[in-house]
Amino acid sequence: MSWDLDVVTMAEATAVQFIAFEVGHDRFALPIQHVIEFRTWIEPTIMPNAPSYVRGIINVRGEILPIFDLAARLGRGMTDATPKHVVILAQNINGQTTGVLVDSVSDILTIAPKDIAALPRVDGGEATPFLSGILSVDSELIGVIDVDKLVAESAVQAIGP
């Protein structure tokens, strides 16, 4: 009994929290420690010479942040954003903050490490370049977005034609 209790505490201690959100009909997640805050969509200032998934820049308390359209980034076309859409402010490893435009935020998930799976080794899938892992929640699979890849990839693409 006491042994079981220990296991539970261990699992809780190492459990990871995620913010789950929707893009189209799919759910994705961001590790909670990367998420700074949510904002409602406002029309950003357009950013010239940027890929189409960079919707522009906004001012958040004096900081200029780029807004990435996640649907467009995943190759699913531009989001027809309304004030009901949500911009998640997420921080990458370099301390840069990026606004990620999603349809809606659905949940905060607490996931035991055993339910976090590595990516299947399949190349060519659209979303995989920006995912760091997959969560299984009640038989639903949720892709974990890797903010660093999301931002870094964009820089690589922008250098090319």
Partner: protein, 722 residues
């Protein structure tokens, strides 16, 4: 803060002290009041010595001591310094800088000249220097030094009472450091007085309730002890009682003031402004047996102010200043928002509100100015280094040069000051190496044998102009042109005006010197100079007259943080243009426009043909004016490579000072965009980068990426208009 941090602070201070020392030397070599400069120099070296001793940097400490001893002799002599003596001072400051850097970076000193300089100093100061091992300079040990006037040949005994103040632990200074430093002076015995230890309930972790009683036997002069005390005088109460039996030959009424005829930091420490220094009389030595009752030289917490009128300073980390600047920027925006809201009300109904708003605006403007001024620094810190540089260059080239500087009090953003050193150094080296002729040549063409270089700075509006002029031979245009053709930088048949040839020296990969010289051919060319200045939002211009010299003009923004900008409308977007680039704006008539193809058209303004850059097309902005006659043309300088161009926008909204916000911080650099800002409505807007504008889009007609193409391009376009 640990010992390492303290050490870093010490090195920072050393930098400042050395810069100040160089400034003094410069003044000295230009015939400034000698005693003042020598005194100041003495203080700088003295402070470095104190720190070096405390951190057990023995080489630095010994050198500084020898230097100081030499200075001390110079201070007392009435004979003015010879050129040779000034040369030794220059060498010594050099060596000191080298030693500081070596101690800081942990590598052996660079210069071979340290050891000889040290020997010379010791010889002149008549102090004994242990000869450093010939092949391993780093091994030389601190030497016992006899200062005839201060220490004599006897051992002194001091009783030191050391009570850390309430702030000492909090500011990260370890009392052990102080005790250890004192120990380095000689034989020491320590007793710790723990009687004041509080009960656990009252105990405060950052307060030190103990006192130490130290008996020191030393052959070092008292100054050495004072040096250590200086380090912590703000943070602790330290009293020093001299227990040394009075030597026979000391006059009974000799005071500290006589030990030190000129004011020294030791004195400053104990002097409260105008009151006379408390004299430590040799009476103190008459009561060696009762240290408690002996008159003591109480050193209370005081600022270590040198005697010059240097303003008090506080060391602040740059990020803190930036945060302040950001907050002030936010305040400006909030204020603009409030003003707009208030404009819907009538003054008659709310007179108090409007008055308060007006007052607030004034305060915020002042606040903004003050916060900018915090980052401003006089150019002196850069300029003062060049006297030194020139001495070296004179030695290396055999040329005689007279450098005059004006406007060194002009202030500019600290980051700009820091980054100016390299380009200016290069320009000066260049002027000496390529510009100024040899004395014989100069005489043969009827010039004075001594070449002249003038370095001047002045503020004009929100820009700072720095001019470097020499009276040398000027730019050899034939050679420059030939070189540019040889290097494939320009077409062989390209016709260039004199000014355009002069500008060729800024092209990447251009260097007229066949052999790389030690002086200016260090791989950084004029293009690096130009690039550094451009990166700071400035411009470089050169004008040269054959046989009469060259002038380089650098224009720099006063601050990198705030910009005066024109707000323009393009479609439903707003773009900002730095005002200093804007010449004028025009609404052109149809006849002024010449159209080449779908994308390229030009406008004739007062006989000058200018390329029209459509912002809407460059940036694919929808719903914007495409016909130049329907919109507004903003004539700007500095588009591409110093060219003038006409930017097509829909309309002009106004002009405002804006706070420059980095795009790279959270995104990356974008071609054609210099930075972002936040306008009065709280929305982000982009500031155009005229330099890269027109090179950004995929449009082949406008994508003249490289500087050489841009230059050639002007000409081809210019040809069309004729």
């Amino acid at each position: 803060m640990n010992l390492d941090d303290l050490k870093q602070t010490f090195f920072l201070e050393c930098d400042e002290l050395l810069a100040a020392a160089e400034e003094n030397l410069d003044a000295l070599s230009q015939g400034a009041d000698q005693s003042e400069a020598v005194n100041a120099l003495f203080r700088h070296v003295h402070s470095i010595k104190g720190g070096a001793r405390a951190f057990e940097l023995e080489e630095l400490g010994s050198f500084a001591h020898a230097f100081e001893s030499y200075m001390s002799i110079q201070r007392k002599s009435d004979i003015s310094l010879t050129d040779e003596a000034i040369g030794l001072l220059f060498d010594s400051v050099d060596a000191l800088r080298d030693l500081v850097e070596s101690a800081r970076d942990g590598h052996p000193p660079q210069s071979q000249r340290i050891a000889p300089t040290y020997q010379t100093l010791c010889a002149k100061a008549e102090i004994v220097a242990d000869p450093p091992p010939a092949d391993d300079y780093a091994d030389f040990v601190p030497v016992a030094i006899f200062d005839e006037e201060i220490a004599g040949e006897f051992q002194s005994t001091y009783q030191i009472e050391f009570a850390p103040g309430p702030k000492m632990i909090g500011s990260g200074v370890d009392p052990l450091l102080v005790i250890r430093s004192i120990k380095s002076l000689g034989d020491m015995s320590v007793t710790c007085d723990t009687s004041a230890t509080p009960c656990l309930d009252d105990w405060q972790p950052d307060a030190c309730s103990w006192k130490w009683l130290i008996i020191l036997n030393t052959s070092q002069p008292k100054e050495s002890l004072d040096d250590i005390v200086d380090m912590v005088s703000d943070l602790a109460t330290i009293s020093i009682d001299d227990l040394t039996p009075a030597p026979m030959d000391f006059p009974g009424d000799m005071t500290v003031a006589e030990f030190e005829p000129d004011a020294s930091p030791v004195l400053d420490l104990s002097v409260d402004g105008s009151s006379p220094p408390p004299a430590v009389t040799s009476n103190a030595m008459a009561h060696p047996a009762s240290p408690r009752s002996a008159p003591s030289e109480k050193i209370e917490a005081r600022n270590l102010q040198p005697q010059s009128v240097a303003p008090k300073t506080v060391r602040v980390e740059v990020p803190k200043l930036e945060r302040l600047g950001n907050m002030v920027g936010e305040l400006v925006i909030t204020q603009a928002f409030l003003m707009r809201q208030a404009s819907r009300l009538t003054f008659e109904q709310h007179p108090e509100l409007f008055r308060a708003l007006e007052e607030m605006s004034q305060h915020i403007r002042d606040l903004q100015d003050s916060s900018l001024a915090l980052r401003a620094q006089p150019l002196k810190s850069v300029f003062s280094r060049f006297g030194h540089l020139l001495r070296d260059l004179e030695k290396a080239t055999g040329k005689k040069i007279n450098l005059t500087t004006t406007g060194e009090d002009t202030e500019i953003d600290k980051t700009v000051v820091e980054r100016l050193n390299e380009p200016l150094t290069h320009l000066i080296r260049n002027a000496v190496d390529h510009g100024i002729e040899s004395p014989e040549k100069r005489i043969s063409v009827g010039k004075p044998s001594e070449g002249r270089i003038r370095l001047s700075a002045e503020q004009r509006g929100n820009q700072v102009f720095i001019e470097l002029a020499d009276d040398g031979g000027g730019i050899n245009r034939e050679r420059v042109r030939a070189k540019a053709i040889e290097k494939g930088l320009i077409a062989t048949d390209l016709v260039l005006s004199d000014e355009e040839i002069d500008d060729l020296i800024f092209l990447p990969g251009f260097s007229t010197n066949e052999a790389v010289t030690d002086i200016s051919g260090r791989g950084v060319g004029m293009d690096a100079v130009r690039q550094t200045i451009l990166d700071m939002g400035g411009r470089v211009y050169v004008r040269s007259e054959p046989g009469r010299g060259s002038r380089f003009l650098l224009t720099l923004p006063l601050s990198l943080a705030v910009l005066d900008a024109m707000i323009t409308i393009v479609g439903d977007q707003r773009f900002l243009i730095p005002v200093h680039n804007v010449r004028r704006s025009i609404r052109p008539e149809r006849v002024q426009i010449t159209r080449f193809d779908r994308d390229e058209s030009m406008v004739s303004v007062n006989g000058e043909m200018l390329r029209i850059i459509s912002i809407a097309r460059e940036f694919s902005v929808p719903h914007a004016v495409n016909d130049p006659c329907q919109g507004l043309l903003i004539i700007v300088d500095g588009a591409g490579d110093q060219q003038r161009a006409a930017l097509l926008v829909d309309d002009l909204l106004g002009q405002e000072p804006v706070v420059v916000k980095s795009l790279e911080r959270n995104y990356r650099k974008v071609p054609g965009i210099a930075a972002a800002t936040i306008l009065g409505d709280g929305r982000a807007a982009l500031i155009l980068d005229l330099l890269t504008l027109g090179q950004s889009s995929g449009n082949p007609a406008t994508a003249r990426g490289r500087a050489e193409l841009a230059l050639a391009g002007v000409h081809q376009l210019g040809g069309v208009s004729k």
